[in-house]
């Protein structure tokens, strides 16, 4: 066999990969650009549309009061800062959390159909949150942290049960994962409904929340979820390297010197925390965590070090787009955003299911 000669040019090209770097930088620009554009659109649209020029002036005016603020009505500033911006921020954060955790679950289970909604984690988190509300935990000493923490416990219990049931010897086939997720998710949803039905009126607003409406207003949910999501999503983005190694299967990952069990535990805990936080503050929204990482894989490749952070940006953009549709399609009525994502996402899921055998990009 001929040994190839050492060509310093090829070596440096292989190490630096300039063309690939340029393409990758463009990916980031696209994803971030889409997120910003849709965030702007989301803020501008509503019962009182805000023209772009006025929007920019109002944003600047509130930060730097001066000559620019002259023509900006005070009501507009109030609408912008008290209603529109927190709503847009919560939608974007929720989309980011769902897509980030979805991508992580897919890498962890080596399964293209994993998603917080499909594997039942969202229902488990929902049950945890509703139990916390029914017991009036938010007013007790845990304060605002009670609901996300209860949702996290619900999510962890669900994911633990699903993994136990779905595992066939060492592998986890897509079919058993989905069936286990559907089974346990249905149980969790039924328990949630039962609690809601037998509880006081106060919980009725939780029903709207269950459908993925953003009934909580203001900055409170944004600020309450922010620490969990910043920490969780940063960690998931950093765990892309070990997730890449896991794509070769547990045995090879072990042979490559990866502490497989510990990596899996950390990923499942962090992804579930992120998904539970999204559910706790925004309700159960399906398919974002499935569709966005998939499109991400087609557009940006399968390297989890890039896929997770890009899916986070893309998830924010996707849920903002779904929310804009939810608010404008039947305006002035607002459709719960979970219905929009299900109507758009479920057919995509079924299409994936049909061609799951031949997923060449997986």
């Amino acid at each position: 066999m001929a040994r190839s000669s050492t060509d310093p040019l090829t070596l440096s090209a292989a190490i630096a990969r300039p063309a690939r770097r340029l393409r990758q930088a463009a990916d980031w620009a696209w994803a971030a650009g889409a997120l910003l554009l849709l965030a702007g659109l989301s803020v501008a649209l509503g019962t009182v549309p805000i023209p772009p020029g006025m929007l920019i002036r109002a944003l600047v005016a509130a930060l730097f009061p001066g000559p620019l603020s002259a023509g900006v009505p005070e009501t507009l500033t109030t609408i912008l800062y008290q209603i529109r911006l927190p709503h847009t921020a919560l939608i974007a954060l929720t989309g980011m959390a769902l897509a980030g955790s979805g991508a992580a679950y897919q890498g962890l289970f080596r399964n293209p159909l994993a998603d917080p909604y499909i594997i039942g984690v969202a229902s488990g988190a929902g049950l945890g949150a509703v139990v916390a509300m029914a017991l009036h935990w938010p007013t007790s000493l845990l304060g605002t942290a009670a609901i996300p923490l209860a949702a996290f416990v619900g999510a962890m219990v669900t994911v633990g049960a699903v993994v136990q049931i779905a595992r066939v010897s060492h592998a986890m086939p897509a079919t058993t994962l989905i069936l286990a997720g559907v089974g346990i998710g249905s149980f969790m949803s039924a328990a949630t409904s039962l609690i809601l039905m037998t509880s006081s009126d106060q919980l009725h607003r939780a029903i709207g929340w269950m459908l993925g409406g953003f009934s909580l207003g203001g900055w409170k949910p944004v600020l309450a979820s922010l620490p969990y999501l910043v920490v969780g999503l940063s960690l998931l983005s950093l765990l892309g390297g070990p997730l890449n190694v896991l794509q070769f299967g547990d045995e090879q990952a072990l042979q490559l010197g990866l502490d497989v069990e510990r990596v899996k535990l950390v990923v499942v805990v962090v992804a579930s925390l992120v998904a539970a936080t999204a559910v706790a503050f925004s309700g159960i929204i399906g398919f974002v965590g499935l569709v966005v990482p998939h499109i991400g894989r087609l557009l940006w490749g399968t390297d989890y070090r890039r896929l997770i952070p890009l899916a986070v940006l893309g998830g924010g953009a996707a849920l903002l787009a779904a929310d804009i549709l939810a608010r404008t399609l039947l305006a002035p009525r607002v459709i719960p955003v979970g219905i929009v994502t299900a109507i758009l996402g479920a057919p995509f899921f079924l299409w994936l299911l049909r061609r799951a055998k031949g997923l060449r990009h997986w």
Partner: protein, 254 residues
Amino acid sequence: MLRLTRATFGYGGRPILQGVSLQVRPGELVAVVGPNGVGKSTLVKACCGLLKTAPGAVTIDGQDVSKMRPRDRGRGVAVIPQAASLPEAFPAMDVVVLGRTPYHGWLGRESGQDRTIAWRAMERTSTTHLAERTIGELSGGEQQRVLIARALAQAARVLLLDEPTAHLDLRFQDEVLRLVRSLATEERLAVLLTLHDLNLVGRFADRVILLSNGSICKQGVPSEVLTPAVLAPVYGIEIHVTRHPIHGTPLVLA
């Protein structure tokens, strides 16, 4: 150096192989042979710490494999599994760079040095021209050479290969084994591999370990082990051994 001392191992408490003692020294290529289901792959798994063994039963350069952290194990022994599952969309070079996994922490990123080491490993296995192709579109022989490059990037002193020539045609079988042979000799690796084809064993191995009925039945140089008297009772058929017309190595015929 890889050393097994009266090692007993199997799955779920049921021993597959018992009292296995062997050693593979640097620069040596040792082939494990035996009938189907005798436990060749199990032996490979035990050597890299995937199976529980008694303390001290399996050591690499004197270190107990069962007590090593995953990272140290990854630095000590590299494995090319049989029918390795490969995520198809990974570029070949990215696969090879993963050989550097035991050298950084979880959150560690590959460095330019890691990529240089990976590139050198690909040069060694003549796969640099495949660097940007995805692993899924490569032929079986090319995939095997990429995996060997990944093992080289691991920079382990012990290399284990489980049926590296399975599903390869004659040319690729020859190519892969010649590569492994030269790695053992030139890089001073201790190589243990399992093989079905006894003629390849005769040509490439320094020593042969014949497994039968849950233990080592015979080990020695190919001319000692590859004889009708030794092989016939193990395989349960009549066996003829002649000489390869060019290499002069044993040629085993049923």
